[in-house]
Symmetry: C2
């Protein structure tokens, strides 16, 4: 026995023997990069990282972990920001990475479906669909590093939810492996199948606590190459709301995105992102970015947008507007919205609150949450943006100018409690699209009804009686 | 004690005392109309029919039934056709009708949501949405008698699934009562809420076996007043498939319905439905009905339809086509498709098979299933129609001309077994939109994987440990 083998736990050897050295990492140096989340907020331990190439290998791994009672932490692209894919501190954890299961098994332009494995990068799937003349509408900031399996395990959202729904809404079928190693064969891409409970819905959004999604059949849509984007300046969130109502009534199915950001976001952008191009000559309290998209007839789409924006300006639902006239301009406008996160990161440590509200409550929520936050911390900087059309705000907080970088280590918890408490007062959700993970466990326990928590725990016990799947996440 | 009370079981008295005589029927004459399904195929017994007015009264009823271990059969509009809302033969059954819970609690044209109670008639909800300038897209033949609660409990489908998805896809939230009387408060109409397992998805499509849906928050869509309908004649299902591909690629989000029916359906229609108007001068092997709809611009929609139908005729994807030019004609064309069921009923007893297939398998399935059926019964008449764009066929069989009305009492089971077995060979579903109920229990047991059956039974035990909810349905 070599020295390396001697220091290796016996169960890691079992995994190595079953799956081969190519698929199992056990050396501390090899494991180290897998132990932290993307932001470096969470860090844990593990005895092995397993990187299977097939659902059968996933099944082998899980059956062995089940027998051993070894905790399993499934991992996709590690971009969820809630610590759901980071192990806890126990040395016996096994990290199960799907990153080598990246086959696109089928693209079908008659049935309008795409069947892909969990390790596929979302952006690659979007491009494969586009190459086939179809649209995979799931689109989010991390799309060039997140993986399909993680997207489904967290029921990802993004910028096109207002038109196409969440990741859940795109799923026709899944293949998954249960903790005991049984394979759930549910990939059939049927549009209609009313034969008992829809079990795949439990696995979608379960953050790896019930089993491991290994592949999925997704809906594709007709490509929408004709695009029109406008950035409109508004006096406040109430006006953004009235603009949303008008745009949806007039444009209906063409409304692809309706995003919101405040002028404080623009401040940060202009400070931190040298490439940012602000399209107005003056500054306004807030902005919305609206995208319309259609399968055909660019001229009709342009005319429609001009007409509704004209009506909105006349009715003072917005106070200024810049319409895109080229793909370069469209990309510049989107960069403005999409680089807010990067600008906030560059500015230093901050608090993220991915919340949703009944859309009509957004203006009042914004009015009432700010005094609560400022009572605790008068100079905190709210950086508010998000998917307004879905009622989804990223109500983030940056630290007071001149305060130390560890400011939120002391003040963060109390501020988060104020924000989430105010969200709940309006019947909102403490996690719109990122999930619970480790980040929001205590708030899940606080706000989710006892009935729902009990049902979830009992369902967890049905799928995972030994409790090996992603312990310490959600619950 | 009166004679009537003496003959009444004691538990019915308990229900009467708790809910009042206005809400509880116990006289055999009063109960009798509630004991059979719509087609009169299933018939059972019950000690009481309870008609609560509020979720709290539903909770009272279920808590009492739970304590008594009395079986509960939830009932909506009784239009599901699978016997899911009909009690079994036991005298202790309690029928729970939601027909008096018919309030529309809210319609919101900013959030585009409708909150309604389970007893609302679907057609009333469609009209309420239309009056508010919005579309509730769930649409099916029974819409003027089916109830929302039943639509959700069976995850209903219908003619607009190709564009808007199933009933499940329209649900933002539900309120439901669990068997022990606890109320699941999940009505919040949020577009995004990733806080644990999505429990409402289990209740949707569970056919009353897990609990009772008492209200729901539904998505509304922009109204699409501009409509164009075409009936196209095709040489076979393969050509219908190629037409579908063309239409979807060109019309994308405007494609509202893509229905199919064979010439044998037209024979029945012309025989049995005096008002039927066939739009062609000649007869063809099969037909598709296509509806396009949009929020605005009638001229553009008409031009689009003419262009794609022109292209389809030129490429011989269809051989003839009649385009609607008025609402009257649109209604006439739809009547042709929608009255096939009525024509088949008028023709006499028949077998219904509501199946779905991967859409590309439909032509081959139709080629291979017919010889299987004819081997058993050479003169049986396949009446094939359905929601082709969703892969959903009603592969119905009418009895041979001149055969006795009870023909299928002897031959039905073997024929159904052939049809469903062939569906499964193509990876299809034995129930596309009607559910399992009592009708397909044995096929559910035969075809659903043992793993899925086990998980469903264990989930059933989580929600309904005493097993009182709708016994003998699905499982």
């Amino acid at each position: 026995m070599t020295a390396a083998a001697a220091s290796r736990p016996a169960f890691a050897d079992t995994l190595l023997n079953a799956l081969g050295p190519d698929s199992v990492l056990t050396a501390p140096d090899a494991i180290a990069p897998w132990l932290a989340d993307w932001r470096g907020i969470y860090r844990g331990n593990a005895q092995a990282v397993v990187r299977p190439r097939t659902a059968a290998e996933v099944a082998t791994c899980l059956a062995l972990c089940s027998a051993e009672r070894a905790p399993v932490v499934p991992r996709g692209g590690n971009t969820g920001l809630c610590g759901a894919a980071t192990p806890d501190s126990r040395a016996q954890n096994v990290i199960l990475s799907l990153d080598r299961m990246k086959a696109i098994r089928a693209i079908d332009t008659v049935a309008n479906t795409l069947v892909a494995e969990a390790g596929c990068i979302l952006g690659d799937l979007q491009r494969a669909a586009a190459d086939a003349g179809r649209l995979l509408p799931l689109s989010l900031a991390a799309e060039d590093s997140c993986q399909l399996g993680g997207n489904l395990a967290t029921n990802a959202g993004g910028v096109n939810v207002v038109r196409y729904g969440m990741a859940r809404d795109l799923v026709l079928g899944i293949e998954a492996v249960l903790p005991n190693g049984e394979i759930f064969e549910g990939l059939r891409p049927l549009r209609k199948d009313n034969t008992g409970y829809d079990l795949k819905q439990l696995l979608i959004g379960s953050e790896g606590t019930l089993g491991v999604i290994t592949a999925a059949s997704l809906r594709l849509y007709a490509a929408t190459p004709e695009r029109q984007v406008v950035v409109a300046a508004v006096n406040d969130a109430g006006h953004a709301l009235s603009l949303f109502e008008l745009i949806y009534a007039k444009c209906g199915p063409r409304l692809q995105a309706f995003e919101y950001f405040t002028d404080a976001c623009v401040d940060l952008l202009l400070e931190q992102v040298p490439t940012a191009r602000f399209p107005f000559g003056a500054r306004y309290p807030a902005y919305v970015l609206i995208e319309l998209a259609d399968t055909a007839d660019a001229a009709a789409l342009e005319a429609l947008l001009e007409q509704v924006i004209g009506a909105a300006l006349e009715a003072e639902r917005c106070v200024d507007a810049v319409v895109s006239s080229s793909l370069a301009q469209i990309n510049e406008m989107w960069a403005l919205r999409e680089e807010i996160s990067e600008a906030q990161r560059a500015d230093g440590p901050h608090l993220k609150h991915d919340v949703s509200l009944p859309i009509e409550s957004i203006p009042t929520f914004l009015e009432t949450v700010e005094p609560r936050v400022r009572r605790l911390c008068p100079d905190v900087r709210p950086i508010v943006f998000g998917h307004f059309g879905d009622g989804n705000l990223h109500y983030n907080l940056s630290r007071p100018l001149g305060s130390p970088r560890d400011f939120f280590q002391h003040e963060g918890e109390a501020l988060t409690a104020e924000v989430l408490d105010e969200v709940m007062r309006y019947g909102g959700s403490i996690s719109a699209e990122h999930g619970i993970g480790q980040l929001k466990r205590e708030y899940f326990a606080k706000y989710k009804s006892p009935l729902e928590q009990r049902l979830m725990r009992e369902i967890k016990a049905v799928f995972d009686p030994a409790g090996i799947m992603n312990p310490g996440k959600i619950f």
